[in-house]
């Protein structure tokens, strides 16, 4: 009963985005149930990252609404979304390379600390207490991700797999309820991918998260996701559980071309 009363974690209605004359997103609809893991797939250029960027409010769609739970965030500034439980990882990690791992995670927790410029500058007791609490929480987060030994290491010095982990720790540091993951497994070898998948599943359960992930690794997507949305040329062409998507001729056509659709999915003529 609780599920039916609660609004979806993420609701996107009729989202359209164009740059100049190019249509990046065309009337896209997407819903994500709280506590579920959603996948977003499609050929290159389909608009997947653009969709995430719209949710984060880096891009401003010409049309459509975006809701986080009950809240309409279609007009919010990007930095306000962290306060409403949204966090994100990036395709190219976008870590703060000159900063240490610990500092990266501390920035992730920026909205939790109620930062006060004056308090910082004057080292007021309240500010110092808040900073100490933040530090403890950040170290706990590092510990959760097995990053304690690297706390003082500069992010730029880390190999990709560890960077991705730091990005994830940073995203979790704000205590979000919804995390957008842009290609979390890109660039990882098969063993690292399995670790990442396991980690994401555990995190989702442990922190009661909703996840929306983009990835090109079909095994990863199909094994992790409860629901998958498929985009092609900015339009949603399919939506449903992984096994249905794998058989959908439109999806196959989008990736491989129409001539393969019937060949690979013979039972659906």
């Amino acid at each position: 009963m609780r599920e039916t009363l609660m609004a979806d974690a993420l609701t996107i209605r009729d989202l359209s985005l164009s740059f100049g004359g190019i249509v990046a997103l065309d009337q896209v609809n997407l819903s994500l149930e709280a506590g579920s893991i959603g996948g977003l797939i499609g050929p290159n250029g389909a608009g997947k990252t653009s969709l995430l960027n719209c949710i984060c409010r880096f891009y401003h769609p010409q049309q459509g609404t975006i809701r986080l739970g009950d809240l309409d965030v279609s007009r919010r500034a990007p930095h306000q979304l962290a306060l409403h439980g949204l966090a994100r990882t990036f395709q190219h990690t976008e870590l703060f390379r000159a900063m240490t791992v610990l500092d990266n995670v501390l920035v992730g927790a920026h909205t939790r600390g109620r930062p006060s410029v004056v308090g910082d500058a004057l080292r007021l007791p309240a500010a110092r207490r808040a900073a100490a609490a933040q530090l403890t929480q950040a170290r706990a987060m590092l510990d959760r991700f097995d990053l304690t030994a690297l706390a003082e290491t500069r992010a730029s010095a880390l190999p990709l797999g560890l960077q991705k982990r730091v990005g994830l720790a940073r995203a979790l540091a704000s205590g979000p309820s919804l995390i957008l993951l842009d290609e979390p497994a890109a660039g990882l070898n098969p063993s690292e991918k399995r670790q990442m998948a396991g980690l994401l599943k555990r995190l989702q359960v442990e922190f009661d998260l909703t996840l929306l992930l983009i990835d090109h690794d079909m095994d990863l997507v199909m094994s992790l996701c409860d629901q998958v949305t498929v985009l092609d040329f900015g339009r949603r062409i399919a939506f449903g559980p992984p096994h249905a998507i794998q058989r959908d001729p439109r999806v196959v056509a989008a990736y491989l071309g129409a001539q393969y659709a019937s060949a690979l999915v013979p039972e659906v003529q």
Binding site: T49, F58, Q91, H92
Partner: protein, 300 residues
């Protein structure tokens, strides 16, 4: 009316200097992605070199100009090869490095020539007298000074348009990667761009003493910098004709503003520069990256 035409003509003279500086800035930016904050210093180097050749070494004007141009070309190439190239694509460092070069060059001039302006001016053999056309009587000197940058920049545009080197430059400014793929030696094009950019700066530097009747000094170009950068920005930093047009436009605008501003307002300190700066800010705000769709605009 004659007054107004004279004001516009003077505006063209100053505008020509802005256009030369702006064009040099734009060329260098287009090809190597660096805003050369040392452009003014290069102009001063040009002025001093020419002056020195003429007044200290007794060289005639024409060979002095030729040697100055060659020297500036080499200097531009040197700066690009030795310093800028080592910084790779790091834009932040490029900004600071050109600043460093600005003061090294100015200091260098000071070391060789001293900071006080020399007593003999850098003079060009400009005609005296007036040019009379109907009701108008215009200064011949200004007419020539206004015409020279037009000729120089015209030659530059024609060169870019119709020579192979020019086409290579245009290719690199649009896409370095694409240019490399078709076999254009991008590094050499960058050297050339800096060399030519330095020459354009030097041309401006040589004209300034005649235009402003001020003696040469290491900081002689600084009063022109605000407008030079604004001119380049008006051209979006990626259009040479735009930069040149911007430069001339600003020169005329500036003179008109000066002409029509009551002295009371000027004594408050507000005047042509305020207008130009407001324009600069407005253009920068309207197009913050200055250019559409280049590497400057990062996507995540």
């Amino acid at each position: 009316m004659n007054d107004l035409v004279q004001v516009v003509l003077s505006g063209l003279v100053t505008g020509g200097i802005y256009a030369l500086l702006a064009a040099g800035l734009t060329l260098i930016f287009q090809v190597s992605g660096v805003v050369n904050f040392a452009q003014g210093a290069l102009a001063a180097v040009g002025a001093y070199t020419c002056w020195s050749l003429e007044n200290q070494h007794g060289v005639a004007l024409a060979p002095a100009l030729a040697v100055t141009a060659a020297g500036l070309f080499l200097l531009g190439c040197l700066l690009q090869a030795v310093i800028l190239r080592r910084l790779g694509g790091d834009l932040a460092s490029s900004v600071i490095v050109t600043l460093g070069l600005l003061i090294v060059l100015e200091g260098g001039i000071g070391i060789v020539f001293g900071y006080s302006p020399p007593t003999t001016p850098l003079s060009l053999p400009l005609p005296d007298g007036q040019f009379n056309l109907g009701d108008w009587s215009l200064s011949l000197q200004e007419l020539v000074l206004a015409a020279l940058p037009i000729i120089l920049l015209g030659a530059l545009f024609l060169g870019l348009r119709y020579t192979r080197v020019g086409t290579a430059v245009r290719a690199v400014s649009q896409s370095a990667r694409g240019a490399r793929l078709v076999g254009i030696p991008v590094d050499r094009v960058r050297l050339a761009a800096w060399g030519v950019g330095a020459i354009l700066a030097g041309a401006a530097g040589i004209l300034i003493p005649s235009a402003s009747t001020a003696p040469i000094s290491p900081g002689m170009v600084e009063p022109y910098l605000l407008s030079a950068f604004t001119g380049a920005v008006l051209g979006g930093l990626d259009s040479l004709p735009g930069a040149a047009a911007g430069g001339w436009g600003l020169g005329i605008l500036q003179n008109l503003v000066s002409y029509y501003t009551p002295t009371q307002v000027t004594s408050w300190g507000v005047g042509k520069d305020a207008v130009i700066f407001a324009l600069l800010l407005a253009v920068l705000m309207a197009r913050p990256t200055g250019i559409f769709g280049t590497a400057v605009q990062r996507r995540v």
